[in-house]
């Protein structure tokens, strides 16, 4: 079965289909009352984790081991008093690698990362990032200073990356003990120095699972690719994209040269370009981009959040996009054709696809 976890401002919905991915049933809402910033199915054991936030009761993580029927909440999650800051939001849960039983990573605001080794019951803040020497140069974006991207290198058990708005991309080669800024070549055009060491507003960061030295990045100021683990970045949005601004990013799980973005007008007008829900695909590493329109609505003034784009690992792979106006668009053929799999959901904050019985 294919399960598309849809986090919304009013709980979690799950779209379920067979592997043909043509007909969808909608389960939920689960976690009523919670803003589900992100939810993910752990491919190691099928547990679902949700980064949940509520304006009264704060930020936490929920876990379900029965595909959403029942939930438990993390016991301990917070920042030490010595840090001078409190946990504001939970943003992204990243399951650990195969063999790292019970390990999870959690990104949150203000620019913080947690690690759990007990399947999310308790979380320990990653002190090296909390006290990073450049932190005084980080600043919150419109969504707060969120650690929204956590990527684990499958080929190197100690290498990982985080993306924080607006601090930039950081790489660790020692399992999170220390972090190196990885922003060379990415612009921060809103700063006096447009190419600083840190302060870039990365919107989404993804590592290609088949070619883990390759990273893709949708930034506040452009779309980028790195082929050297983030040591340098090449800007790609001058190659046919209508705008370099956007939030979500998706990849082809088998082709490192293929990526998808959804450009928006710009920082001051955060809506899709030219009144259409335009998904742009490159199949040559960002040398050129083509607009996918087959089955997508037009006219459409849509917004897609940074977590609102996902793909499965079937062959051909499926790709899923959720709009703030509550629609899920799905493609079962790598983006050649699209159909609306759900509509009239609450504001969609995140989409995450999984294949699980």
């Amino acid at each position: 079965m294919v399960r598309v976890l849809v986090g919304t401002r009013k709980g979690l919905f799950v779209l379920v289909s067979g592997d043909e991915r043509r007909e969808w049933t909608i389960e939920g809402p689960h976690l009523e009352g919670w803003d589900v910033f992100h939810a993910v199915l752990d491919p190691r054991d099928g547990a679902i984790y949700a980064a949940t936030n509520n304006f009264v009761y704060g930020a936490t993580v929920h876990r379900s081991t029965d595909l959403g029927a029942t939930w438990t909440r993390s016991d301990e999650i917070g920042l030490p008093e010595s840090s001078g800051v409190k946990l504001e939001k939970t943003w992204h849960v990243e399951p650990g690698r195969e063999g790292e039983d019970g390990r999870l990573w959690l990104g949150g605001a203000p620019g913080v990362l947690f690690r759990s080794d007990d399947s999310g019951a308790t979380w320990e803040v990653v002190e090296s990032l909390l006290h990073h020497e450049t932190r005084d140069r980080w600043q919150p974006g419109a969504g707060g200073m969120c650690c929204h991207s956590v990527q684990l290198d499958p080929s190197a058990p100690e290498r990982m990356y985080v993306g924080i708005s607006a601090a930039g991309v950081f790489r660790s080669e020692d399992g999170g003990e220390s972090w190196t800024p990885a922003n060379q070549g990415t612009a921060a055009e809103f700063m006096p120095d447009p190419y600083p060491l840190v302060g870039q507003c990365v919107h989404k960061l993804l590592l290609h699972p088949q070619k883990p030295d390759r990273l893709w990045q949708q930034n506040h100021c452009g779309v980028y690719r790195s082929d050297d683990r983030g040591q340098s970045w090449e800007r790609l949005d001058g190659n046919g994209l209508p705008s370099g601004f956007g939030f979500p990013l998706a990849l082809d799980p088998r082709d490192p040269d293929t990526a998808y973005v959804v450009p928006e007008h710009g920082a001051e007008n955060r809506v899709t370009v030219d009144g259409r829900l335009g998904i742009y695909r490159t199949r040559d590493g960002g040398e050129s981009w083509e607009l996918a329109t087959n089955g997508l609505p037009e006219p459409a003034w849509a917004s897609v959040m940074r977590e609102g784009f996902s793909f499965d690992r079937l062959d051909p792979f499926g790709i899923y996009l959720g709009t703030q106006s509550g629609s899920i668009f799905a493609s079962a053929d790598g983006g050649e054709s699209w159909s609306e799999a759900a509509s009239q959901l609450p504001t969609i904050l995140s989409v995450e696809a999984a294949v699980w019985p």
Binding site: V56, R73, E81
Partner: protein
């Protein structure tokens, strides 16, 4: 024993239990013994700003706050502040 009544969302988080009967000397002690204490209090142990607490219908701020003593026959009601959309 004092009776603690939770709003719907907290009751769900408490496994579906809305009503708790507790022996506690103070309001603080009673609230911290609840299974949803980490939703009512933040990581520093401070009561979250938008959680309102009423003791026999009176806002705890008009009593002694969390230090309000409980004789054991009170009804304590938790209410999430009315806000948002």
């Amino acid at each position: 024993m004092a009776v603690i009544l939770l709003p719907g969302m907290l009751a769900t988080e408490a496994g579906g239990q809305r009503r708790f009967e507790l022996d506690a000397a103070t309001l603080d002690e009673a609230l911290r013994s609840l299974p949803v204490a980490n939703l009512i209090f933040d990581e520093r142990g401070v009561l979250r700003r938008l959680v309102n607490v009423y003791v026999d219908g009176v806002d705890m701020r008009e009593r002694d706050g969390l230090a309000t003593t409980l004789a054991g026959n009170e009804t304590v009601r938790l209410v999430g502040a009315i806000a948002g959309g």
